[in-house]
């Protein structure tokens, strides 16, 4: 909020002095409305999280033992690296599929658009177990997917029990998280800007590259980071469609909690993945920093964010 006061559009329409107390009242009301959510957040998220963090340093004995074990047990880091790689692939593939899809949604008629939204959301409405077992049947040896692949000359591709199979299913279920944020940003892009670009002599490609792409970047980033973060925590899909050789971090956290009853060690793994997530998020924001700022401007001009 403070940052936006510096931007030209807001400065141009600066409020008259008389509105100030009203704004303060509004803020108090907003705080009051936030209170239930805040209490729930503290009670059910912040406190347990603190408990996990404290436990990771104190259970079974105080010190860094749980963390040192992560780096020396020979497999946690490997599994973490694999998890990051799978999450990255799922994000990139999701982007490649989702971007054109979201773009088409902005051009489609309202009816077609409703159908397109439904298609993207269907996997989201199906039971998680039913969906994973359906994927299992589809990608197993001699299954439908293998049949289609052998038609195009790729025979004998094993998908069930591999990271590829897991990534395939994860991409499908995470697609709504990719498409919907991108669509909501793209929808607000003023298409006359594209005409303006072309009228000034730019080709269609460079109009897209110089105007549309930067303007759609906030959607790409919020969709991409959402999918990346969600993909890091997937448990059921890799457990059912993958194999121990392609295990992801959530599975070995589960072994620590449920089989070894090592809550401290599991907490340390959780904290590690949390830190890695925060670093990845911070990096993605920074990477796209300038583009986002420019685009956010244009979008903010169209209404509240």
């Amino acid at each position: 909020m403070p940052a936006s006061t510096a931007s030209p559009p807001t400065a141009a329409s600066a409020p008259p002095a008389g509105r100030r107390p009203a704004a303060r009242r509004r803020r108090a009301a907003a705080l009051l409305l936030l209170l239930p959510a805040l209490i729930a957040l503290i009670l059910f998220f912040v406190l347990p999280l603190l408990d996990i963090i404290i436990g990771s340093f104190t259970d079974p004995e105080p010190g860094l033992g749980n963390y040192l074990a992560l780096f020396s047990d020979g497999y946690t880091l490997r599994v973490l690296g694999r998890t990051l790689l799978v999450a990255l692939i799922v994000t990139l593939v999701g982007l490649l599929l989702g971007y054109p899809y979201a773009y088409m949604m902005t051009l489609a008629s309202p009816t077609t658009r409703a159908v397109m939204v439904t298609v993207v959301l269907v996997p989201f409405w199906t039971s998680m177990m039913a969906r994973n077992f359906a994927w299992m049947v589809l990608i197993q040896d001699g299954g439908v997917v293998q049949g289609i692949l052998s038609l195009v000359g790729l025979s004998g591709v094993t998908l069930l029990g591999t990271a590829t199979g897991v990534a395939l299913s994860m991409t499908q279920v995470l697609l709504p998280f990719m498409v919907l944020p991108m669509f909501s940003v793209m929808q607000q892009i003023d298409r006359r800007l594209l005409l303006a670009g072309q009228s000034l002599g730019a080709s269609r490609l460079s109009t897209f590259r110089k105007v549309y792409l930067p303007l759609s970047l906030p959607g790409v980033i919020s969709g991409g980071s959402l999918v990346f973060v969600l993909a890091l925590g997937f448990y059921v899909t890799p457990a059912l469609l993958g194999s121990p050789q392609s295990a992801l971090i959530a599975q070995i956290i589960s072994v620590r909690t449920r089989d070894l009853l090592d809550f401290g060690g599991a907490g340390a793994m959780g904290v590690l993945i949390l830190v890695v997530t925060l670093i990845a998020l911070g990096a993605s924001r920074r990477l796209a920093g300038t583009g986002t700022a420019v685009a956010a401007h244009a979008v903010a001009a169209g209404g509240d964010r």
């Binding site: 009670l43 059910f44 406190l47 347990p48 603190l50 408990d51 404290i54 436990g55 104190t58 047990d73 020979g74 497999y75 490997r78 599994v79 077992f133 299992m136 049947v137 197993q140 040896d141 001699g142 069930l160 029990g161 457990a239 059912l240 194999s243 121990p244 050789q245 295990a247 070995i252 072994v255 909690t257 449920r258 089989d259 070894l260 009853l261 090592d262 809550f263």
Partner: protein, 349 residues
Amino acid sequence: MRHNHLLALAATGLLLAATAACGANSSTEATKTLTWASTGGQFQEDEKKALQAPFTAKSGTQFVNVSPADASQVKAMVASGNTAWDLANMSWIYAGAYCGELYEKLDDPALDRSKFPPGTTHDCFVPTYRYANVFSYNADMFKGEAPSKIADFFDVKRFPGKRIVHDYPKSGLLEAALVADGVAPDKVYPLDLERALRKLDTIKSSLVFAPSYGAIQQMMVDKQGSMVLTVTARSIVTAQSGANLKAVWDFTTVDIGALVIPKGSPNKALAQQALAFVTEPAQAKAYAELTGTAPARADVDISTIGYSDVQKAFNAFLPDRGTLLEQDKPWWIENTDMVTKRWTSWKVS
């Protein structure tokens, strides 16, 4: 101190629902209620019918059924000082490893340990039923020579195909690997883990670690695997759902199912009475007929149980079933953490 305080705070919210159920438990003597945690699904339905209903008829005790019965949840309940479960059907390993700490010692004289087979009891558990880790193969996939020895499970040249096993070290796979490698069945314990893993390395690319019993069933019915090593009840269900399974009776590990009492159970005495009651012949037989498992107590004559044909086909406790080995309770209790860690690092790499 601060840690405990936080935990208590955090747990308060989560346990609100449980407390409501608990209040009904401890308030009045007139309405006796036991909370029974188990696997869920058909298995728990069978428990309701064969074990709980007769006890309700006898003593008026009502049962609250919850699932799943997770050892980590017991640890969390005990740590928060609010144990909601009275009886839990879960691996005896945890009751053995955390006896007196997370689980109650069983001291009711009705639980006479001499009634049970040797090596199946502990301060904190007695068996409620017996089952086996059955090696069977898909008969549709071996038209010529069929597997007949445990060593054939490890011979992917003569008997190709994937081997479906449960993703759990105590599934009988390690013991089978040692016997196939030449260890005499009575010398399997203390278990040489590294030797077992070396033997498993020879077929690792053919091993499929199933994450759930449902997945085992699906893979065998869809002929994704040619062989499977899984528990009695699941072998039966898999055969019933369309897989042409044949059991191989050469070397088979057997184990027990146990109902354990989490530490701080609000109705420990009543829970022990229920426990003693369900091991009695009438209940044990009814339960065996529903699940295909075998009764725990030695004084129940297994030949009097009305098993169906498919139940008989996977029952390791009938005559002519080759060598049986009771999985060594003290060894597993002592070494389970070590095995789980080594097993995890072996299979994820």
